[in-house]
């Protein structure tokens, strides 16, 4: 299956936020957005347009840390959030190195871009995320990740631009070209390799098993130590 990516050429983003409002209507997120929680929003900063949106990491920290496996990485690109599984613990909100997921408490949901997976992204080769379809300047582009990466690299080289998202957190499915240093524009400074799993999560799947094993080890060690102490006392 092809893996897709969104490419943003910030030079042609005017901060109009048509992408933002289209996303709200596409996903019926009016109440959530009114609370300030958004899947995508453009902040007009002094050094450029900062798009606050999910980077769809290749190795997502949110997925690795989610204790209930409510976040999953699809093989066609987007990281998806499952409302039926999520316990709203906020781990993803805390762990995302890009500070993207938001917990909207009044509406009891995690707010994070799905790359419009509902538009049959993995099945229909002509499917495009809603934000990309409406961008008035074509600053947003969507396509097979390999092609988007090649294009982004070439544009960065030709235009003397910075490419954000290619290596950040081990690489992402959101590639952003900026004139200024991305961190000056507003994007977080993120390590090049994936932050991967963090040991704080407790519960199901691999992380949970590891945590249980660690807990079992700690318990046994305590039991063993106590037995030794008792033996010495005896």
């Amino acid at each position: 299956m092809k893996q897709y990516a969104i490419l943003l050429d910030s030079r042609f983003c005017t901060g109009c936020n048509t992408c933002f409002y289209k996303c709200v209507q596409e996903n019926r997120l009016h109440d959530v957005a009114a609370n300030g929680n958004t899947r995508t929003l453009v902040k007009i900063n002094d050094e450029g347009m900062y798009h606050h949106r999910c980077m769809h990491c290749i190795e997502p920290t949110c997925v690795a840390n989610c204790p209930k496996k409510a976040l999953t990485k699809t093989d066609y690109g987007p990281v998806l959030w499952d409302t039926n599984v999520c316990i709203r613990c906020g781990t993803c909100v805390q762990k995302c190195p890009f500070h993207v997921p938001m917990l909207d408490q009044p509406n009891n949901q995690i707010v994070k871009c799905s790359m419009c997976a509902h538009r049959n992204l993995g099945q229909d080769e002509n499917a495009i995320p809603a934000c990309v379809t409406v961008c008035p300047t074509g600053a947003l582009e969507f396509g097979e990740r390999g092609a988007m990466v090649a294009k982004a690299k070439q544009m960065a080289k030709d235009g003397g631009l910075n490419l954000y998202g290619l290596e950040e957190n081990g690489g992402t499915n959101m590639l952003i070209l900026t004139k200024a240093d991305p961190t000056a524009v507003g994007y977080p400074a993120v390590q090049k390799s994936s932050a991967g799993m963090s040991p704080v999560a407790i519960g199901g799947t691999a992380v949970g098993v590891a945590a249980i094993a660690a807990a079992a080890y700690a318990g046994l060690k305590k039991y063993s130590t106590r037995r030794n102490e008792i033996a010495k006392e005896d």
Partner: protein
Amino acid sequence: MNTHKKLSRRSFLKWTGITTALMVIESPLRNFDVAYAFGEHPQEKPRYLAKKKVPQVCARACECDCHYDVIVGVDQVTGLERALTLEGRPDDPVSRGKFCIKALGFVDGMYNPDRLLVTLKRTNPKRGEGEDPGWVTVKSEDAVNEIIEKMKTYKREEILFASPGDPYSNRLCRSLGVTRSDQRTECFGTHYYLNSLMITNPPNKYYSSTYTVTHSLWGYDYSQTKYMVWFGFDSFSKTAKAGILNHIVEGKRNGTKIIFFNPVKTPLADGMADEYYAIKPGTDLAVALAMAKVIIDNKLYQADFLKDYSDAGVLIDLETKKRLTDAQGTWLAWSQADGKPAPVNNCNNMAFDGGPFSFDYNGKQVTAKPVLQLLQENLKDCTPDWAAQISEVPAADIDRIAREFAQAAPTVCIPNLKRDAAGPNYSNSWRLMQTINILHMLTGSLDHDGAVLFLSGVKIPWLEDVDPLVKPYPQQPASPADYRNQFPVTDNIYKNRDFSAPGHYGMVGHGLYHGSTTKMVFFKGPHRGLFALIQPQMTEAALEKMDLVVDWNLYPDDNAYWCDYVLPAPHQYEESKLDIRQYYPKWPCLVGGDAVQKPPGDVIGWGKVANMIGMALAPEYWTTDGSSDPAKLIKGNMKDPALQAVGAAEDGTDFMQNKNGFWIDKKPYENYKTIREIGYGRPDGRVKMYVDEFAEVGFDGLPTFQPRWTSSEGEYQFSLLITRAGWHMHADPNFIDNPVINMLSAKNNIDAVWISPAAGQKLNLQNGDEVILETNPKHMPELPRPVKSKVFMSSRITRDDCVMLFHGIGHRSKWLKHGVWGYRDGDLIPQKDPNICKQHDPTGMGWVEDVYVRIKKA
């Protein structure tokens, strides 16, 4: 044998450790775990089910009028069927499949619970902000009848309609003989009047008869042009004009060079400015004049265009300041070959410079010079060095830009629309607009492929064309509330050439406040109310003493505090439309829109309101035979003739049902054809550099430099810059009363006033501090209302002597749940005293940014 293997403590720890390590390292497939079959994940399910697409035209969000489809479907969240969102229409030559956030906002505005669906009638006679009007609801038709009965008691000079110049408003105001004044004056009045006086020559075949709201020359071939100069064209409001942005970006990708002059570094400048200059506000005229001088002195102009399509060689009598004509009224030029004057269309070796030429003219000796010679003399001192001192743009750059601009001709342009530096912003903006038009003439870029595009081949008739008058309209009031009679240049256009002209709204508040004649004001909204005004406090005070105030509006906005009746208007998506592509008129094209739904509640359309008032008070203009027989009511069908004239469809129904609301004729653009058809001296039409009408009222017919009306004085040192967020339009509650939009504004500091970081430090301010802005009282002696706001320091404000405010915020209406929000920019802009205005500006505009303010920590 005991087969049970005992797990030693060491072994347990070893295997637990290995397992844990493996879990930590994890499988490379760990992120590819699939909890659902493909397409079954909750986020792979659509949130709505689209049921139909309804073509629409975005006629109110900005000038572009994008054509798109409204998507109607079932919202999976609520289970209700409604308009949900939009989809682009790639065939539309303007939008090319795009639209903007404002258009999306309209969709939700239709269902806003604060929307007015019944007529409100006041019972408490005390008007004013915060007063409870004691609303009672009445049937809308009954309310109109009550209004009519009151109108019968007024003389026509006692009635003012605050309304745009749409066909029904025009017919109503003209048939009643009452004044109509249009708020949009302060957006594009300068463009409109200067273009009328120099280029479009109303009434003409296209521009004075179109269905669009503005009648200005706003078609630019952004995607094909080689070189553009933007005098403040890139205001923040342009950041969301999808219908022009998609063209501009294509041009940029194709290598268009764009020069930005603006004291604000906007998001458009970030990516698209080849050169950016932080010009001193209100001095763009100096740069434009210097550019013209460089081009003329070095003969870099397009001589053939000037000879064939302009008045550059036309002779001006030095004594009378009038242009000389032959017996047929054809302009005369000087033939160098024959050594005598000759009709401009048949002049052998026309002189552009030289003179004075003396000769016998109708039995009298006259001395005359060609227009271009007079212009060169006017520009004698306007060197790049001179302009640099005024504008703070380096002289060498001005000189180079002028030469590059001329070298790239004719595929160049200086786009201007709405609130750029050539809009009604400064007391010298009219001269800038004149100079921009002259620069277009010098480069032959008017009515040319790849430059300024003119309409051709399509026309939507006026109401008077399809329902002709049986007798002439009555005279207009001698002393209208907006003082237009004191500005003969523009008053002549109103009275004799194009009654749809925008008006003098920048003075209407002054007229209502100081005058005693007006008894009734009828605001025709939606969203044309107080916030759209400059110095609304003066209008508010004036409305308190009115006998009758009516508003026809989508929402009970601030106006309602002063209204006796608020009539509910339909949403723009509840009306059908037919539109030309004025903003990219490269090809003749018609687009149509259908009503998405029937207007709900007791909503009443403007056509019905106008018909009722017209039939009651001036029936002879509202029936086909001049009788008062309701059966003979005019039909008002302007669509069918427009469609039939070009063979687009049999009628409006055929167009929408069978042609999907779209017709285009993609023939090659014929350069300079429309100039011939609509210009001065048509059918051999030409454009004018020299504006005789200015000379007739004591101003020079050609541009000269003039400074701003006001200057920095003492603490009043911050030049007021006004823009608006891309997602707002005026004070339209479609956006202001939208909590999603308000959140976006807050995240982007649109609720603050913006100054440069250096200016903020000098004032000892921190981001978020409350400040008070106050207009220099010398220029606002009456009813000052300082503005209180938080401050935001941004390096996008590239000058330390400016403060930027956002237009369209600052609702006070308690009936808009989300609308009580922010400051009002208009509070700082003085209403214009006509006696001051006419000293500086024969067009009588409002000079919206010609203001200096003081900033103090609150």
